[in-house]
Symmetry: C2
Subunit: 223 residues, 2 copies
DNA sequence: TCAGAAATTGTACGGCGTACAGAATTTGTA
DNA sequence: TACAAATTCTGTACGCCGTACAATTTCTGA
């Protein structure tokens, strides 16, 4: 488990941390959280279960590392382009994060299972603050707005993936909306009149449209 | 497991669904998610583990029922008082939900572990829509705003409880902010200058102040 | 060359959710 | 009033899980 700064005795490692994380992610995608066990990961990479403990001290560390990996590097694309309008840059980051995380529904839930204090999470917060200060916000307001945005992005994604119960990749957005519509159309209008009338809108809660609509209301609110 | 509409043969039940849920919640509070096992619940109420399956088909059903129970009845207090200003009513609901859920940190995480389609969740959505329409929003905007608010409330709470890793009741807000400050003050200013400068503000992300601040920005954005 | 560090395996433990069969209890009805 | 059927609960068991421990193998620097 020690970093193994090559130069010390001992056989060469058969794996890398990244191979383990890739296997964990693949299992998460195929079989959901239940499938991403230490034993499953070990089987997938072809070692005994306890060999994983050479690379990570325990399962929680695997999850932490996986979350960090999923957050990715935020300093790319439109978000990093200082010549674009700031709202556009934030929308680009939000869309990018949503795409990356929704692609791995099982993993998205892990995001909110522990403190977000990894370097990549910090880097995203740093860039958001920098951007908002550049947009004219006072430093304190920029920091608070940064957290508001993170809450919104992560909350949206978590609720979105929680809506689908099956493991495996999420169905298409259209399919998910459709199945939600069928559910919401059953709402009894006598007891929930507003919800029954809004069934079609509520079906689209998990859409990119709603996601961007909510984000824009927040951006309106902080500027 | 069948509702047991008294009148059919069989011994009387030794428990009620509610006793099981109470035991589950107590275990969740004492020992966190890991402690709230079917076996633990059964031990706490004094039956064999599999007796629980008389009341709920599986563990997921226990969790679903617990989540519903935790959501509580929203139609009370300031939120239900149609004579108060609408923003005040929403703030009252938000504060009420946060208090109720943060009191059971282990359970809060369960909220986003499945679709929020229970009757109590629907009732909250219904009342929010009604309120927002009364505030002058068009029905579609009211529905979208409702979801935005739910995302914010649940996302905030989930991130807040995820920040504390230990099971058991959350420390006081002041203690949590203090411990966050100590962590954030370690951020290296050379690599994350904005975050380092905002450490004190970031420490208060988990405060009622920040929670209400963010909520108000959203309310600003939707009106 | 070889001492000793590191990686990996075999084995084991306690805990989990839950399936299944049987015993015990209660009921409406014959 | 006796009994058949329905229901609750227990005993037991299975296959998972995370992970601790000791032994084995493979490598390196001295």
């Amino acid at each position: 488990m020690t970093p193994a700064g090559r130069g010390r005795p001992g056989p060469r490692r058969a794996l890398t941390e990244d191979e383990i994380l890739d296997a964990a992610l693949a299992l998460l995608d195929e079989a959901g959280p239940a499938g991403a066990s230490i034993r499953g990961i070990a089987a997938k990479v072809g070692v005994a279960p306890n060999a994983v403990y050479t690379y990570f001290p325990d399962k929680a560390a695997v999850v932490r590392a996986l979350v960090e990996k999923l957050l990715g590097d935020a300093d790319h694309g439109v978000f990093a382009d200082r010549d674009r309008p700031w709202r556009e840059r934030i929308e680009a980051l939000a869309i990018d994060l949503r795409e990356r995380l929704v692609a791995h529904p099982g993993a998205a839930a892990l995001l909110m299972s522990g403190p977000m204090d990894g370097p990549r999470a910090t880097a995203i917060g740093e860039q958001l603050q920098e951007l908002l200060i550049g947009a004219g916000l006072a430093p304190t307001a920029a920091a608070r707005s940064t957290y508001l945005l993170i809450v919104y992005v992560l909350g949206s994604i978590a609720l979105e993936v929680a809506d689908e119960s099956e493991p495996g990749p999420l169905p298409s957005e259209a399919a998910r909306i459709d199945s939600r519509r069928r559910v919401f159309e059953q709402i009894p209008a006598e007891v929930f009149p507003r919800s029954a009338a809004a069934a079609r809108t509520m079906a689209t809660y998990v859409s990119t449209d709603q996601y961007l609509w909510g984000l824009r209301r927040i951006l309106d609110g902080i500027s």
